[in-house]
């Protein structure tokens, strides 16, 4: 029998928010509301909302479809239509969904885009993805070229370049698609709300430094980042959600409770881990259980930084609206060079006193995965800890081999346990 999952109020609130958003999308056409498709990293949600454009994030649809076991069929459909088995499965899941009638993960029909807002941040595939969608939808594409930060440092020149594009390309394109004038005051108000919610998210993420940690920053973390990385940043809903979440987490911390998982609360925190790479979505719960069964809790993860490094101080700034949007786009995790990514993970290992780190390398994603084997060795060198390397995929069920992943993880945890016993014996 499946264990009953204790659902905290913030979880229920988030569920309602997501369902409400999909319902708004499902009724957008009949209500005459305009829709913009965009990507999670470097998203300009406040800007879109300030034009009353409803955002659609195709990656979120893909992962939601995967969690509902729909992605396999969609990918097969896209491959039948000529898409290669080698390429990013998010793209194929999205295209398959479109080919099969564009019914969204909650069963409501997705509206076609009025504009494709191509915030080109941290992933080359984004450009191809929207070129492909443009062919189908024949709608305008607004391209925002966000330069890569090979040294992990945001330069003035790059920021100026992005701001100029926001002013001269993106805002006019959104004005045209929405039929509304740019309203900077409205944008500032939204950015103020963003910053508030961001403060609370950081408190939640940092709570993992406490022993025992009240949160799991990877599997649980993907829920915590959800509203802020997608359609709700800049809204009062997000502010309310994060306040509630923070209070719950602080309560758990005060009571000395561990993170809540689908299998129940972690009561025996055996291993403190840092994880690099996105999770697998098709077997999300099974994957999480593999960690839970071993008492492994994740204290920091890089996936929860794809939509911004808030824990490193970034906040949307209402006093510098376009500049801070530009800095946000430039500073997303996958837009940072490998040396900075290595540094960040090594910092997490130190700051959170981790016992080890795991790299989940996903087949789909060159942006994340290419170079991870080198990162593994470099982090091992810098931290003195051995890491684990596992391979899965995002939304293609064919590439999640439970037996392989479990064996890898089990032997890694055994190794960590032996090391610990050896250290104690000494």
């Amino acid at each position: 029998m499946k264990p009953t999952i204790a659902k905290e109020p913030s979880m229920l609130r988030q569920k309602d928010m997501v369902a409400g958003h999909y319902h708004k999308l499902g009724t957008a056409q009949e209500r005459g509301q305009k829709v913009a498709y965009t990507f999670v990293p470097g998203n300009l949600t406040e800007l879109m909302l300030s034009f009353d454009l409803l955002p659609v994030y195709p990656e979120i649809n893909a992962l939601q479809n995967a969690m509902r076991k729909l992605s396999g069929d969609y990918i097969a459909e896209a491959e039948r239509a000529g898409h290669s088995e080698d390429v990013c499965t998010y793209v194929k899941c999205d295209i398959g969904m479109m080919l099969k009638g564009n019914t969204g993960p909650t069963g409501e029909k997705m509206p076609p885009p009025d504009v494709l807002l191509l915030s080109y941040t941290g992933c080359f595939t984004f450009m191809k993805w929207f070129e492909l969608l443009r062919e189908k939808y024949r709608c305008p594409t607004a391209m925002l070229h966000v330069p890569y930060m090979p040294d992990g440092v945001i330069t003035k020149e790059s920021r100026d370049y992005v701001v100029k594009q926001l002013k001269d390309v993106i805002i006019p394109a959104l004005e045209k698609s929405s039929g509304k004038k740019y309203d900077e005051e409205r944008l500032r108000e939204m950015l103020k709300l963003s910053a508030k919610a961001e403060d609370d998210l950081v408190t939640v993420l940092e709570s993992a430094k406490h022993r025992p940690s009240p949160i799991d920053s990877y599997f649980g973390g993907v829920y915590y980042i959800g509203p802020l990385f997608t359609a709700f940043r800049g809204t009062q809903d997000a502010v309310d959600y994060y306040r509630e979440l923070r209070e719950e987490v602080e309560g758990r911390m005060a009571r000395g409770e561990g993170p809540i998982t689908p299998e129940g609360q972690v009561s025996d925190e055996r291993f403190r881990l840092v994880v690099e790479g996105p999770p697998n979505w098709t077997h999300f719960r099974e994957f999480w259980k593999m960690f839970h069964d071993e008492g492994a809790v994740v204290f920091a993860s890089t996936y929860t930084k794809v939509g911004g490094l808030y824990d490193r101080g970034f906040r949307h700034d209402p006093d510098r609206p376009l500049e801070s949007l530009a800095e946000y786009c430039l500073g997303c995790y996958t837009n940072l060079g490998l040396p900075r990514r290595v540094e960040l993970i090594s910092e997490y290992v130190r700051d959170y006193q981790a016992d080890g780190f795991v790299i989940n390398s996903v087949k789909s994603c060159d942006s994340f995965s290419s170079g991870q084997l080198v990162m593994l060795r470099e982090i091992e060198k810098r931290t003195g800890l051995a890491g684990a390397f596992i391979e899965t995929d995002l939304v293609d069920p064919r590439y999640f081999s439970p037996a392989n992943v479990r064996t890898r993880l089990e032997s890694y945890f055994q190794m960590l346990a032996q090391k610990r016993e050896g250290a104690l014996a000494r």
């Binding site: 080359f124 450009m127 070129e131 492909l132 062919e135 790059s158 490998l338 290419s370």
Partner: protein, 389 residues
């Protein structure tokens, strides 16, 4: 003038020499010179040249090199190019290069630049973020600053002072070289039976390691020698090849296409030697001219955003027609997201224009040619059949 065989043999030696002996020789002859590598698919070689450097194209190691350390750096689902490049580097074969330029072609090359920084901290490593905004006051301003800095950094390495005249002279030399590359493509499209696809490729690819002046001479001689050949045309199908712009196919693959009854009359091998397709202006500020040529160049590539209003694939359709190709072969490296994500759009454009196509994948070290030979042969036969029907 040389004879054809020795000229081709020399190019072949240059292409197959993974130890870059000619780069070493060039450096011995130019004690203050530097050699700067660049990855696919485009880097402004003029800048390196003007700074007193030798630009050296690094496009992998083909079939010859056994990959040991490269495989420890990349998962099985990453294309082959980065593993052979890293193998070359870790075995010391790229030590002759003082620096490396990593253009913004894809996430694999982008991340390779990070691996480089981590693995070779003493080397000059430059990530070249080519603008995806093509307006002079946005992408242009951004790109000009990059070129300006790059030129200054390279000059600092050679001790030369940045100099407009020097840069203009380099622009002139590379314009001349690209014009000859264009001539080679045009001549081959006109009389493909005189220009073997594999030989033309070797002659072109020698341009990755030869000084530009020398490569220009090689091109000129090759075109003249081929034109003068007395060879009878075969009843082959004329095809354009697409998808091989980064990781290069093994030479055997190009030869296999010819043996399967195809004249390759157009391709997208080595765009770094063909871009920009029009001359860079030799008037005014040369950095501005390089910027303008990049922004305005009508090159269609997987790594370059196609703006609203221009139809994806129309350049392929145009170049296929211009070269009088009867069909298109998509030869794409395995796990190459840019090429493979582009492919359905390009195929749709061909379909709309009634141009036949076929597709397969390869890796630079693919050894098995039989399936490719059969597929290309069937495609060539069907083109001939339908063409004559």
């Amino acid at each position: 003038m040389q004879q054809l065989e020795p000229l081709i043999a020399r190019c072949r030696d240059l292409v197959e020499d993974l130890d870059l002996a000619n780069v070493k020789a060039w450096k011995a002859a130019h004690p203050r010179g530097i050699a700067i590598g660049y990855l696919p698919i485009y880097a402004p070689r003029e800048i390196v040249h003007a700074a007193g450097g030798l630009p050296v194209g690094v496009v992998g190691a083909g079939e010859e090199l056994e990959i040991v350390r490269g495989d420890a750096c990349f998962q099985s689902y990453i294309c082959h190019l980065p593993r052979s490049v890293i193998e070359l580097a870790l075995t010391g074969r790229l030590d002759v290069l003082e620096g490396m330029i990593f253009p913004s072609t894809c996430d694999v090359i982008r991340n390779l630049s990070g691996i480089w920084k981590l693995s070779f901290p003493g080397k000059w490593t430059h990530y070249l973020d080519l603008p995806q905004n093509f307006e002079p006051e946005m992408g242009g301003v951004f790109y000009r600053r990059i070129l300006h800095e790059m030129y200054a950094e390279l000059c600092a390495m050679t001790g030369l002072a940045p100099d407009t005249e020097c840069l203009r002279a380099s622009v002139r030399l590379f314009n001349e070289n690209r014009r000859l590359v264009g001539d080679l493509y045009a001549a081959r499209a006109a009389e493909p039976w005189k220009f073997g696809a594999k030989d033309s490729y070797l002659v072109l690819r020698a341009g990755l390691v030869l000084p530009v002046e020398e490569h220009t001479t090689v091109l000129r001689e090759y075109i003249q020698l081929c034109k003068a050949r007395d060879v009878r045309p075969l009843d082959n199908a004329r095809i354009a090849l697409r998808g091989a712009f980064c990781e290069q196919p093994p030479l055997a693959l190009i030869q296999t296409l010819e043996r399967a009854g195809c004249y390759v009359v157009e391709d997208d091998f080595l765009p770094m030697l063909r871009w920009p397709s029009a001359d860079v202006s030799e008037q005014g500020d040369p950095l501005d001219a390089l910027v303008t040529s990049w922004l305005a160049t009508p090159c269609e590539a997987a790594s370059r955003f196609v703006k609203d209003g221009s139809e994806k694939g129309c350049t392929l359709v145009d170049s296929t027609r211009e070269a009088k190709a009867e069909g298109v072969i998509f030869a794409t490296p395995s796990f190459c997201d840019p090429a493979l994500l582009d492919r359905p759009m390009l195929q749709a454009a061909l379909q709309r224009s009634g141009i036949a196509f076929t597709s397969f994948k390869y890796a630079e070290n693919t050894g098995q040619m039989q399936p490719i030979r059969e597929q290309a042969g069937t495609f060539a036969d069907s083109i001939k059949l339908w063409g004559e029907a």
